[in-house]
Amino acid sequence: MISPIHIISIGLGTAFALGFLNKKSNGLAVSLMLVAIALMAAVSSSWFIKLYQGAEAIEVYTAGFKPPYSINLRMGLNEALLSSLINLAGFLGGLYMFKNLKNTGKHAIMVFLVFVMGLNVIILTRDAFNLFVFMEVVSIATAGLIILIQDGKSIQAGFKYMIATGIIAGIFLLGIIFAYYFSGSLNIDDISNSNLLAFKGGSVAVLMIIVSVVLELKPFPANGWALDVYEASDPGIAALISAASATAMYFVLFKLMPIADLQWYKIISTAGLITFVGSNLFGLKQTGARRLLGYSSIGQLGLLMTILGLKPFLGDKFEYIAITILISHYLAKAGLFWIAGLLKKDKLKDWALLRKKPLFLVLFGTFVFSLIGFPPFPSFFGKWELIMSLSQQGLYFTLAMILTGSFLEGIYLFRWLGYAIKMESNESWTFKLEWNKVIPPVLFGILVYLAGYYSSTFAENFNGLYFIALAFILIIYLLDFLPAAVKNILSILSLALVSWYMLPGLYSEDMLRFIFTLIFLVGGILTFIAGFAYKGKREGFYPVALLMYAGLAIIIRASTTLEFFFGWELMTAGSYFLIIRGKKSMAHGLSYMLFSMAGAYAILAAFGLSFAETASIQLSSLAAVGGNITVIFSLLAIGFMTKTASLGLHIWLPGAHAEAESDVSPMVSAILLKAGVFGLMILMIAMGNNPEATRVAYVLGWLGALTALVGNLAAAFQEDAKRLLAYSSISQLGYILFALAMMSHLGWMTAMVYSINHFLYKSILFLTIGAVVLKVGTHYMYKMGGLIKNMPLAFIAVLIGIIALAGVPPLSGFAGKWLFYNAVIDKHWYFQGVIVFFSGIIAFLYLFKLIYSVFLGQLKDNLRHVKDISIWFAIPIYILIIGLMIFSAKPDLVLKPLGEMISVWYPNAGLSWEGGLATAPYGYWNGTGVMITIGIMFMALLGWLLLLSSKAVKVGQFNIVYSAEAPQRPETTHVSYNIYAGYNKALGWMVAPKITEFWDTMSDWAHSLAEYGRRLYSGNGQVYTTYVLAYIIAFYLIMIF
């Protein structure tokens, strides 16, 4: 085993030896440097392996004297891990900057090498003054590396950096020397044992030491210089500063904290929290990539600082949380800076160019998701543990602020990701990708997944098998070069396999999960069939669709809140990518993501609160919650309602669904929304019996009713067919919410029937309309019309769909309505019931409009030769129609077992069955009978019509002529254009985009706050030094009061 001290020998020796090389051998110099860093990495990682296997930490004494008489280094597990990380980043960073370094010459290469070596010593040393010396080494090396590109901006940034760190280092030295004076030792362990805080002078010394290390971590607002450094230095260097330096400095703070006491931990955590929220808030207004990454880096450091400050509360969880979040930050931030360097574009909007290289787009997405803390990345597990521990400790404010900060970070990162995925870009990728610049980000991208898997193995009650699903998705991604059809088959097979594996067991055990599995997975298979209609490769579609389905399946399978949340977030990520694939979906994808994130955080907080009460993360333990039930119930309900798009949280839905691809719309509408319903049901099953929950449910009931009304009204005024269906979904989910909130047997029966129905007819309608849209090339109904002859298959499908939706006999929609009225009467929710009833009438308006304006009336000239919908769409549509028919004709097949299931929770006032005849307290209904009756009537009418039709006079379609000129706005000539203008006058105020305005205003406020606040960073380096000093004073004031 090579002694860790030789990290220094290797690093410095090589740096000194590089002086011998002449100017021509710069390439050799860089290679030697890389070899040296690799050797350093070998030393540190070999120690890591050894220590990980259980070896004791070792102390290295210099000069053969024991500390405190000489300087000692410690190589423990943490040190070994972090120095390995630093050396890895150093090696890859050096590789990445091979050319820059080579061109700048051997002096720059020496500086780079010394920089990496210095960071190692910072980690290893246990001597306060030695720490100071090597912090100076690193900060001077940093000042040198910043100006590697030697443009005006980097020189300015470097100077600001130097004056700020100059003052910080002075204060640090002052603190150390007084600590020596008071404690008689320079060894950190001795200093912490000597209780400096017992007297005033000692506490000032501690203050100076701690505050200067905190300042090195760039706390808000004393961090203007750091932002400039991130923005102006070479991205390769910024990557190192953000990943490696920050890691080392964080460890320094960790190492020095024992000299302080609990009060100091609190101060640190507050300072970190302010940094995390403040920095991410200001990040909102950034338009440049590197500065944005700077804000994000500083924010992440703030989060890490908070975690360190919470160490006394987190107990033995601390290391896991800190390391997972640190590693996520380390990998992601270095990766992002490296990509920024590759792209050579600083404007966020120009990142659309990244699309030309899908590999980098995937890496970009990976890093963004891992920063925010999505599964399967390490930070997901870290954040989970953090939230659980925080709520266990009752630190609700901290918890709320952390979630707020994460949310703010999510806003700008996802907006940026959206630009990269969707922004218009005419540029072409002109520059060459050098292998040495590609390997580092790719490697870090792979590592972040591996680290995620590894982190999950530490999580209690977490089934690692879920990673198999992710691995499969990865394989599908790697097969992305195959034609779409092959991937489609693979996807269908995989869903079929999972269904085959899951369904039989569930049928006997858990009807609720069985039905939702049917909806999620079998629905998934059906929608995938439609995918055969697409030609080409459909790059990126299958992995993300499968990701969503994997998330949905995990939600069903989850037995713990952690697994549930894991699945929930996977589903969110997958559906986000599905949604943003649509043509004009950039904004919709973002708003979907933001609502989902806010919802997910509400869920996370609620799970945390529940864990705090029950000390268990079993899903079943939700039932044991007593004290905070109103809060937990409300938070969970809000979280799930972001997915069901209830009123107020719905504004993401219309755009997202309408702009999605034709076969994606049913996925995200008919299927995805049910995840929210499933969540609500799980929630109500667990907590519904509590009277407090009932009160919240009453509110939910009203909300559901209003959602139904507003959704339907809005649908009636749409000219865009898919938007119409989207609003209709909102309204249908409002029905479901209303029915669920009744929390009675019939209410739940209604909800289940609506869920199944909505899945069936919304799939049918979206698939059909989507297929029609594919053929006619427009969403707008006024551009269609008269398609009945060209598209009989589509017409029949839509006809059946709207009959089911409208709830008229004989189809199963009627069953829903019938149950609904029974339930309302049973529950005595008359007012709400009337609203829902009224909205049901409105539904007729838009349904009529849908079928009329698309299929009836005048055929547009340009659509004369349009063919019927693709067979690949027709197959799933007609399978679904058959399903609908079966459900309508034999509802007892499903409803009976469903009733039994619901009886477990709500035994009273159920349906009683006699064959196919259902009897409710307020009436009876026989699905089969109705079906037959209506069928006979229909046949009779049809026959009569056919009989009459022989006398009808045929009129040619284009028998009329415009009088003289073409109309100004051709759409106005369509008979159903603005067909409900009258209603709009009367009721339009209800659907005025008040809610959208509300959220827009919120967003504007946040952005103006950010705009105003960030003026703090005036650009004047001198002012920044004032902030630094003022920050110290602020700490002092907090300390003495």
Binding site: I8, V121, I140, Y181, L1029, I1032, L1037
Partner: protein, 229 residues
């Protein structure tokens, strides 16, 4: 307005420093750590007359390594930062007396510098001071012979070789001695003699050479940019 703010901050800073003075009571005796260094048996372990040197080179030799690294870094950074075409600037010729004096003085100053660092373990002064004196000699040379070319290669070589020797000796301590920078890898000699204190004089001499070379390099870089008008 801003000045007022700064006055307030500095006043607060002064108030913050006050407790330090308040808790300061001077020293009546050495601290525990210093006592250890000053004990006879421990002095004999290192065998250096100058205790500061013993600490700088041996006990806290790692700091010194860091410190020469900082100078090394500074020299390297300034070298690539300020590099530019150096066309010579015609200066007023120096007076004959000055040039002659410089001719005599420069070697003497260099010798003096060498003397200082060679005796670092015996008398005040050591590598840094000696290095600074050497650098002063170089400045004198710059002033006296502005047109003479600077021996880049030589100083670069000196810098590297002395750095390598320093690191090498230090690592040797870890390999054959009892730890990194252990000075007992060479015989300790007689207390108070030039050849004593083990590796200390050797290391300190190379520190001196290195510091001298680095400072000269830095000065040269600053000097060269003088002429690129």
């Amino acid at each position: 307005m801003r000045k007022l703010f700064i006055i307030i901050i500095l006043a607060a800073f002064g108030l913050m420093l006050y407790p330090l003075i308040q808790s300061f009571s001077g020293n009546d005796h050495l601290s525990e750590l210093a006592t250890y260094y000053a004990q006879k048996e421990n002095i004999e372990k290192v065998n250096s007359v100058n205790l500061v040197t013993a600490i700088v080179v041996t006990y806290r030799g790692l700091d010194t390594l860091g410190e020469v690294t900082i100078l090394f870094l500074t020299a390297a950074i300034i070298a690539f930062f300020l590099k530019g075409p150096s066309t010579l600037r015609t200066l007023r010729p120096n007076s004959e007396i000055f040039i002659t004096a410089a001719r005599v003085l420069v070697p003497i100053m260099v010798m003096f510098g060498v003397y200082i660092f060679m005796n670092g373990h015996l008398s005040p002064g050591g590598g840094f001071q000696g290095g600074a004196v050497i650098a002063s000699a170089v400045i004198l040379m710059f002033l006296a012979f502005p047109d003479a070319p600077f021996q880049h290669k030589f100083f670069g070589f000196m810098e590297s070789i002395s750095g390598l020797v320093f690191v090498g000796l230090a690592a040797l301590g870890a390999l054959i001695g009892s730890g990194f920078l252990d000075n007992t890898i060479l015989p300790l000699g007689t207390f108070g003699k030039l050849l004593s204190a083990g590796a200390i004089p050797v290391i300190y001499s190379f520190v001196g050479l290195k510091v001298g070379a680095e400072l000269s390099n830095i000065l040269n870089e600053f000097k060269s940019v003088q002429s690129d008008k």
